[in-house]
């Protein structure tokens, strides 16, 4: 998370889309949704609320159930129990069922799912009620909306690149002016450079249209950069929901911490709001436990610093060009003979990985001074 373009977008909506101040801001509500396929429970009680006009990313490893959740919201699957409501109207519940085609929901699949037998224009027109000239001009508008030339309307899907196909799929889904847009890993089939560019273009289009959006992805960087709200999915349930900054810097549990990015995890002793570990005393806000805990820091919080009071020796490095991953063995901590022996005192010696921009500074065997920036997060001790 560098800057936050998404934060600006929702607070300053474009004139084309105006929020009704009196309208409920909870656009989508998923409550206690369960779903099994042949004895395997895929969704184990999912609760999720998405505000009007906001962007939510559901991120999770493959098999965590995120696509199933999306398909339940879209109306391709019916939940076994629980309910889904859109704009305050139940669309799935114990006695309610609104099929996909009657929900005002747009859906963009992983590979775009363009109809191969139709031209780009006919694909976009597919869901339109207009016909003829009105439809054609609408197709042109929609293509421009996804930054494509209207002349593309005559092409076949097979003549488009992967990124173009995804943008056409988005234009097609936008054609019906859906209240809610569902994106099922729409960027994962694209190669790295194209992925970022397409993601930006899609985010821009959707925010300009003011459509409530849910993105499903297994790529945590994509989730953090795309959404206002990130929901971390694990084993069929949402482990944490929050802003990208919060879920990254204050993950709810160790698995979430490790899923969302590299993490330095150290054994620590929690006393009040200070965690004692091999990196010294680290401040922790609202620790969930006292005594023996796991302390989590992000690698970028640990800096190489002349004046740092933590000593370590470089074990080895991985050079990536702009930055280098440096593995550092922390120095054993000398026991102060004047104090009584404390069994909870850290002993040092752990090996941690941090990142640094200067490869020359970190040759194996070099002794370094380190300091820690910001707060840590602790998790209760697990045997």
């Amino acid at each position: 998370m560098t800057t936050s373009p998404t934060a600006g977008q929702s607070s300053a909506p474009k004139p084309a889309f105006t929020h009704d101040a009196g309208h409920a801001t909870e656009h989508l509500q998923v409550a206690g949704v369960r779903k099994s396929f042949g004895g395997t429970q895929v969704l184990k009680g999912v609760d999720l609320t998405v505000a009007q006009g906001r962007t939510t990313a559901i991120v999770g490893a493959s098999g965590s159930g995120k696509t199933t959740l999306l398909r339940v919201i879209a109306g391709f699957e019916a939940p076994d129990s629980g309910s889904v409501s859109l704009g305050g109207v139940d669309v799935a519940g114990p006695k309610t069922w609104v099929p996909a085609h009657k929900r005002s929901v747009g859906y963009v699949a992983q590979d775009g799912a363009l109809f191969p037998h139709l031209s780009v224009g006919a694909n976009i027109e597919f869901g339109l009620r207009e016909r003829g000239r009105a439809a054609a001009s609408r197709v042109g508008e929609l293509l421009e909306m996804v930054s494509m030339d209207p002349s593309y309307a005559k092409r076949r899907p097979s003549q488009l690149s992967g990124g173009q196909q995804q943008r056409v799929a988005l234009a097609r889904a936008l054609a019906r002016q859906p209240e809610l847009m569902l994106l099922d890993e729409p960027f994962s089939a694209l190669d790295a450079g194209l992925r970022v560019a397409t993601r930006r273009a899609v985010a821009k289009t959707l925010s300009e249209a003011g459509v409530t959006t849910i993105l499903v992805t297994h790529d945590q960087a994509e989730a953090l950069s795309f959404a206002d709200q990130v929901a971390v999915m694990r084993d069929g349930a949402l482990a944490q929901i929050g802003s990208p900054f919060v879920v990254y810097t204050r993950p709810a549990d160790r698995a979430t911490a490790e899923f969302l990015g590299d993490a330095v995890i150290l054994e620590a002793w929690m006393e009040g709001s200070l965690a004692l570990c091999s990196l010294g005393g680290i401040p922790v806000r609202r620790p969930p436990a006292q005594g023996r805990v796991h302390l989590m820091l992000r690698p970028e919080q640990i800096r190489i610093s002349e004046g740092g009071n933590i000593r370590g020796r470089v074990v080895d490095t991985d050079y990536f060009g702009p930055e280098t991953t440096v593995r550092i063995a922390l120095a054993p901590i000398a026991v102060d003979p004047s104090k009584p022996v404390d069994p909870h005192q850290p002993v040092g010696g752990e090996v941690i990985s941090i990142r640094h921009w200067n490869a020359m500074l970190a040759r194996p065997g070099t002794d370094l001074s380190l300091k820690v920036v910001g707060e840590g997060v602790v998790f209760p001790w697990e045997g």
Binding site: A78, V89, Y107, P116, F126
Partner: protein, 531 residues
């Protein structure tokens, strides 16, 4: 994106939402399809079930009396000799031809590629008719093998050529780089890759040999099928015919078992489908002339002889043979049965293909397997079963078009099924979902997307079923309503009366109807190879 978003669109949608659809489409769909598929599978198991029940009813003593006798031994010898000699020759010719056409610098390989597939357009009994005209004394195992090889070697050639044309040349290049010469590359690298295609082709040839009636009856070479037919004609529905049918069915099942053993674990080994370099063609050098001569000889025997003799009889018959009333009527009836049969078969195959592709699982596999086995039954067995079943249970439909079309559906369903499967695989469920998300009700989404995308494949399958029906003789002879003449039965009636000139126009029409379908089969094989 225009205005009127949040509040205004929610109100009307509330009204839409209140019309709650009955049944949860995602769950009720497969069950209806499964039930339909089970009904179709039961229908397709009728012939096999009939034979099993008849055999069980006959009792051990009858079985011993009717099966263990010299006549059956003679038929068994003829049939087995036919299979054992014909199949290896077809495999060698098919593989050699395919390899020359696809992998060597054979001059004119594009023309040869088509010429080697072309004999399939000539029905075996027309081939037989031509050869009997050329050599009236033709008969015995030699005659049977000659006609069979010339009629059926394309059944091996076509799938093998398809695999060869798609095979990644990197495999051969790796073989060469590992120090193998061209011959050893062929035997150690290329040939193993062809095992599945060649085994599949060999199975098809064998099943055709067991099922063929006309070609062998014409040269008075007795096999189980011809014997069952004669038995049926003399005693109508006797136990003897049924017992012979049991032995024939047993042979078919053994063949299927043998083929599935050959497939073994290699079943899942696939030929790479990604982008690959063009195949390197081997220089033939001094072998160019012998190769051209060999292919020319094969083509003359398999295409030249039948076409020449059909032409000769046409010339001899002059204009008179074209003006007989029966010609037009049998052409129209053939087209009628062909179209009806193709349509019914494709419709019946659709649920099965849908189940197998969209809801893969054990149920689909078992049902598809049942269909595969039952469709391997010879036409004579299917016909016997339907005659008996209709007489006993639904006498009203006995000898009506309904029964004949049902027989066609039983015999040719795999042709439709294979094509529909490939077609449905091109129309993934995601597209259906996308259409529904764009506001199309499930049925409309299905029609506009899935069915539309499957249509070309369905048409291809239907065309192949049509081809089968045009040339079908045995079941048509047994089941056709009184007064029905198809091109095949009329050709058969005339040539049986040694009216060779009168039969020639029918032969020509069958060849002309078959030619485009054969080309379609050939063209399609190149596309689906490796899948």
């Amino acid at each position: 994106m225009s205005q009127a978003k949040s509040t205004t669109t929610v109100q009307p949608s509330r009204a839409r939402f209140s019309r709650i659809a009955r049944g949860r489409g995602t769950r009720s769909g497969p069950w209806a399809v499964v039930v339909l598929c089970i009904l179709i599978a039961i229908f397709s198991l009728l012939p096999l079930g009939y034979v099993a029940v008849m055999t069980a009813d006959a009792g051990w003593d009858t079985i011993v009396k009717l099966v263990f006798r010299p006549r059956v031994g003679e038929l068994l010898f003829n049939t087995l000799a036919l299979v054992v000699i014909t199949v290896p020759i077809c495999v060698v010719l098919g593989i050699a031809g395919a390899w020359l056409v696809e992998r060597t610098r054979l001059r004119g390989h594009k023309v040869w590629a088509v010429l080697l597939a072309a004999p399939l357009a000539i029905p075996a009994f027309v081939n037989s008719y031509a050869w009997v005209s050329a050599i009236p004394s033709l008969g015995g195992v030699f005659g049977g093998v000659l006609i069979s090889v010339l009629s059926y070697f394309p059944l091996v050639y076509i799938p093998v050529a398809a695999v060869l044309s798609r095979m990644d040349p990197a495999l051969e290049q790796s073989g060469s780089s590992l120090g193998l010469g061209p011959w050893r590359v062929f035997f150690r690298v290329v040939l193993p890759q062809l095992r599945l295609a060649a085994a599949g082709g060999a199975l098809l040839v064998s099943l055709h040999l067991l099922a063929e009636y006309g070609a062998f009856a014409m040269i008075q070479f007795d096999t189980f099928t011809t014997a069952i037919y004669d038995q049926f004609r003399s005693t109508f529905n006797g136990a003897a015919a049924n017992m012979l049918a049991s032995v024939l069915v047993l042979l078919c099942l053994l063949l299927l078992l043998g083929e599935s053993k050959t497939r073994g674990s290699a079943r899942y080994a696939r030929v790479g489908a990604g982008a690959q370099s063009n195949p390197t063609r081997l220089a033939l050098g001094g072998f160019q002339a012998p190769a051209q001569l060999g292919l020319a000889a094969l083509t003359v025997l398999a295409l030249g002889v039948p076409l020449f003799h059909v032409g000769r009889w046409l010339v001899a018959g002059g204009a008179e043979v074209w003006t007989r009333d029966a010609l037009i009527s049998s052409l129209l009836q053939t087209l009628g049965y062909g179209l009806a049969g193709a349509l019914v078969t494709t419709i019946l195959a659709f649920p099965l293909a849908y189940l197998v592709i969209r809801h893969p699982g054990p149920v689909g596999k078992i049902l598809e397997g049942a269909n595969y086995i039952s469709s391997s039954m010879p036409g004579i067995v299917v016909a016997l079963a339907l005659v008996t079943i209709t007489i006993h249970y639904v006498p009203g439909v006995y000898q009506t078009a309904v029964v004949l079309v049902a027989a066609y559906a039983l015999l040719f369903m795999p042709r439709a099924l294979v094509n529909l499967r490939a077609g449905l695989a091109q129309a993934p469920k995601e597209l259906d979902d996308a259409a529904q998300a764009l506001g199309k009700p499930p049925l409309v989404a299905f029609l506009k997307v899935t069915l539309r995308l499957t249509a070309p494949a369905a048409a291809g399958g239907a065309a192949l079923v049509f081809l089968g029906i045009v040339n079908e003789l045995t079941a048509t002879l047994l089941l056709a309503p009184n007064g029905t003449q198809t091109l095949a039965t009329e050709f058969w009636a005339l040539s049986s009366e040694i009216d060779y000139t009168g039969a020639a126009p029918y032969a020509l029409l069958m060849i002309l109807l078959s030619a485009p379908m054969t080309y379609l089969l050939f063209a399609q094989s190149k596309k689906v190879a490796g899948q």
